[in-house]
C-alpha cells in the first residue's frame, strides 16, 4: 500500500528513500530540513514520471488540504486549498452551474498539481492552459514567508509558479475563475480519420469546437498510418440537459485490484486492443449528448488503471512539435513506433492553439501534440530516445509532467527559459526530475 502510494503514476522511476510529511492545515509551518535534504510538494501523485518524486528528500503531501475557502456564485470565482481535486470541485460546483474552464484527462488531480504542471485539456486551442484561469495563489516558502501571488502582485513569482513543477514553494491556496455552463452534458460528434493527412486536414475547422481530440491507432499498418477517430464536443446549451444529475466526479465504477503481470501489456495484446477500440469507435457519428465525466475523464471510471501495466510500469511520452513541420514529424514519430518492437496502448493527438499561458515553464505551444504510452521495457526506452531525435529536429519539446527519462540536453533545448526559472526556485525545494535534467549544469541543486 504505502509503496504503491508514493510511486508516480507511471511507476517508473522507482524511489525508495523518501519521507512523507502530510500538510494538515494551510498555516502549518514547513518542516525544517537541512540541505542536502530537500522538500517537494506532492498532490495526488498522478504525474507519470519523476516530477512528483524526490529521492532522498521529503514530500509535502497536500492530500489533507482539501477545504474550500470561498465561493462567489455570481462571479464564478472559487478559492480552495491546494489539495482540493478537480473532481471535488466539479462535484460541488457543477450542480450550481459552474465548471472548470480547463480540465486535464483525469479529474483526480489536485489544483496545486494542476497549477504546478500548468495542465491543459481537450480545449487547449480555445481556452489555453489551466494557468490562464488562476487569479491568485498563496505560496509558502522555506524562508517562512507566505505570499499572495497574482498576475499583478509578486507577478514574477506567480509566473514562475504556474508550470513551476512545485519547485518555487508550497502552493497552499488557489483562486480560480470558473466557466458558466448549462449542465453536465456535452454534445459529442465523432469523425473517422483515415490517415495522417485526414487528421491535419480537419485541423483548422476543428478549432471552432470547444473540445477536440483525436485517438490514433499507433499499431495501424503503414498504409493506414495515422488512422483513428476525431472527437469534437461542445457544452450542451439545451436547458433540458440540466435534468440529469451531475453525479460524483472521480468515483471509480470498477477498480484494478492489483498489479497485473507486466507481461500482459505487450505489442500483440495492445495491437489487438487498439484494433478492437478502432472497430467499435471508429466510425463517424452525428452529435449526441454525453456526460462530461465520460468524455473529459474517461479513465477515472476505472480505479488504479495504471496497474494494468504491472510492476514495471508505463512510460508516457508527450511531445509538441511546431505546426510548420508537424505533419512530417508526426509521420516520422508513427513510423518509428511502427518499426519498433513495442507499441503505444493509448495514443492521442491534439492541435494546440496559440493562446499564451502566464506560466514561464508551460509546456503547450502552437503545434501538434502527441501522447503515447509504452509498457516499460528496454525497447521502449530506446524508442523514446529515437522519438526525441525527431522532436528535437522539429524544434519541439517534451512535457515534464509525463516524462521519466528525457536527457538534460533535451529538456534545456525545449525549455530555454529554464535558466530564468531557476532563479525563482526555493533553495530548499527540489525534485528527482529537476536534478536529473539539470545535472552537470551550473545553478543546479
Amino acid at each position: 500500500m504505502s509503496i504503491d502510494r508514493w510511486r508516480s503514476f507511471g511507476g517508473y522511476p522507482r524511489v525508495v528513500d523518501q519521507r512523507v510529511v502530510p500538510v494538515w492545515w494551510r498555516d502549518d509551518p514547513l518542516p525544517k530540513v537541512a540541505a542536502p535534504v530537500t522538500l517537494l510538494p506532492r498532490g495526488r501523485g498522478l504525474s507519470y514520471g519523476d516530477v512528483c518524486l524526490n529521492e532522498g528528500g521529503t514530500l509535502l503531501w497536500t492530500g489533507p488540504l482539501d477545504r474550500f475557502i470561498a465561493f462567489d456564485p455570481e462571479a464564478g470565482v472559487v478559492r480552495c486549498e491546494a489539495g482540493v481535486t478537480i473532481a471535488q470541485l466539479a462535484t460541488a460546483l457543477l450542480p450550481r452551474g459552474w465548471f472548470l474552464p480547463v480540465s486535464p484527462g483525469t479529474a483526480l488531480v489536485s489544483l496545486g498539481g494542476a497549477v504546478a504542471n500548468d495542465v491543459h485539456g481537450k480545449n487547449q486551442h480555445r481556452r489555453g492552459c489551466f494557468g490562464r484561469y488562476v487569479r491568485a495563489l498563496e505560496l509558502a516558502r522555506s524562508d517562512g514567508s507566505r505570499s499572495e501571488c497574482t498576475p499583478t502582485r509578486n507577478a514574477e513569482l506567480f509566473r514562475a509558479t504556474i508550470g513551476g513543477m512545485g519547485l518555487t514553494g508550497l502552493i497552499t491556496a488557489v483562486e480560480l475563475q470558473l466557466l458558466a455552463v448549462c449542465g453536465p452534458t456535452l454534445e459529442l460528434e465523432s469523425q473517422r480519420l483515415t490517415g495522417l493527412a485526414d487528421l491535419f486536414a480537419h485541423g483548422a475547422e476543428t478549432q471552432r469546437h470547444e473540445y477536440a481530440v483525436a485517438w490514433i491507432d499507433a499499431s495501424a499498418p503503414l498504409r493506414h498510418l495515422g488512422r483513428g477517430v476525431l472527437y469534437r464536443a461542445e457544452h450542451s446549451r439545451e436547458p433540458a440537459a440540466l435534468a440529469p444529475r451531475a453525479g460524483e466526479f472521480g468515483r471509480a465504477r470498477a477498480r484494478v485490484p492489483c498489479l497485473l503481470p507486466s507481461g500482459l501489456a505487450r505489442r500483440s495484446t495492445l495491437s489487438l486492443l487498439n484494433r478492437a477500440y478502432g472497430w467499435r469507435a471508429g466510425r463517424s457519428r452525428p452529435p449526441r449528448l454525453v456526460s462530461m465525466r465520460s468524455f473529459l475523464f474517461p479513465l477515472d471510471s476505472i480505479g488504479d488503471w495504471n496497474r494494468v501495466y504491472g510492476r514495471r510500469g508505463v512510460l508516457q511520452y508527450q511531445c509538441v512539435v511546431p505546426l510548420a513541420d508537424a505533419q512530417l514529424a508526426s509521420r516520422e514519430l508513427l513510423l518509428r513506433i511502427g518499426r519498433s518492437g513495442t507499441t503505444s496502448f493509448l495514443t492521442v493527438a491534439k492541435l494546440f492553439g496559440t493562446l499564451d499561458s502566464p506560466g514561464l515553464m508551460s509546456f503547450p505551444r502552437a503545434g501538434m501534440t502527441w501522447s503515447f504510452d509504452f509498457p516499460l521495457c528496454a525497447e521502449a526506452l530506446r524508442l523514446c530516445d529515437e522519438l526525441d531525435r525527431t522532436v528535437a529536429a522539429a524544434g519541439g519539446r517534451l512535457y515534464p509532467a509525463k516524462d521519466a527519462r528525457m536527457s538534460g540536453a533535451m529538456f534545456r533545448a525545449g525549455f530555454p527559459e529554464w535558466t530564468q526559472f531557476a532563479a525563482y526556485i526555493d533553495p530548499l525545494f527540489s525534485s528527482s526530475f529537476w536534478r536529473r535534467v539539470t545535472r552537470g549544469e551550473e545553478s543546479t541543486r
Partner: protein, 243 residues
Amino acid sequence: MARIVIYGATSAIAEEAARSCAARGDTLCLIGRNAARLTAVADDLAVRGAAHVLTAVLDFEDLELHAASVADAQRQLGGIDAALIAHGVLDLEANGDPAALAHLMHVNFVSAASLALRLGQAMRAAGGGTLVVLSSVAAERGRRSNFGYGASKAALNVFLQGLRAELAPAGVRVVTAKLGPTRTPMLRHRPAPPLVASARRVGRGVARLLHRPRDEAYLPALWGAVMWVVRALPEWLAKRLRW
C-alpha cells in the same frame, strides 16, 4: 435539516462527518480549540452546502465552561438535534508517566464525559436528541502498546453505557462509536497500523450515526468481527503478543 453541535470540530474525523452533514444542508455549530482552524473548516462547510455554520472556541479541559458552552450552542442554533463529541488525544507517554496519564484521562474521559452529561441534560430538557461520542477499539482490550489511551476510552465506554440507560426514557439516544485506527494527525508519528481506514470513510459513518442513531457501532464495521476475536483471546496468549 438537522441542527448539529460538534465538539472537537477540527479533528479530521469530525471534519469529514461535518462535510456529510453539510452536503445534506444541516446547520452546524463547530466548537474547537483553535480559532483559525475552526474558521478554515467553517468556510469549507459553507461552500459545501451547510445551511449555516457557527463557530466557538472552547478550552475542553476547563470543565467549568462546559455548561455555558452547551447553553450557548443551544441558544444560537435554536435547539440541538444531534451532537458529536470528537475531541481526544493519543499520548503514548501515558503508558509510563503518571502526569501524562492524568492529562490523558482528563481530556479523553473526564472532559468528554462532562460534555456528554451537559449535552444529555440539555437534550432531556428539550425532550430528545442524539449524542454521538467517539471512542476506540483500543478500549476493548489492554495492549502493551497503548493501554493508557485504551483505559481512558474504556472508562468513557462504561460511562456512556450508563448514561444511555439513564437518558433512554427521555428520548435521548447516546451512541458509542468505536473507531478502528484511522488516518488522522493523531497517528502522524507512528507507522500505519493494520486495517487503517481513511478519515473520510469513518467520518461518513459518524455522520450516519448522527442522523440514524444506534447504541453502539464499530467504524468501519469490520472491527466488530475483529474485536470479537480480540476479546476472546485468553489472557495467557494476549499477554505474550507484541501489539
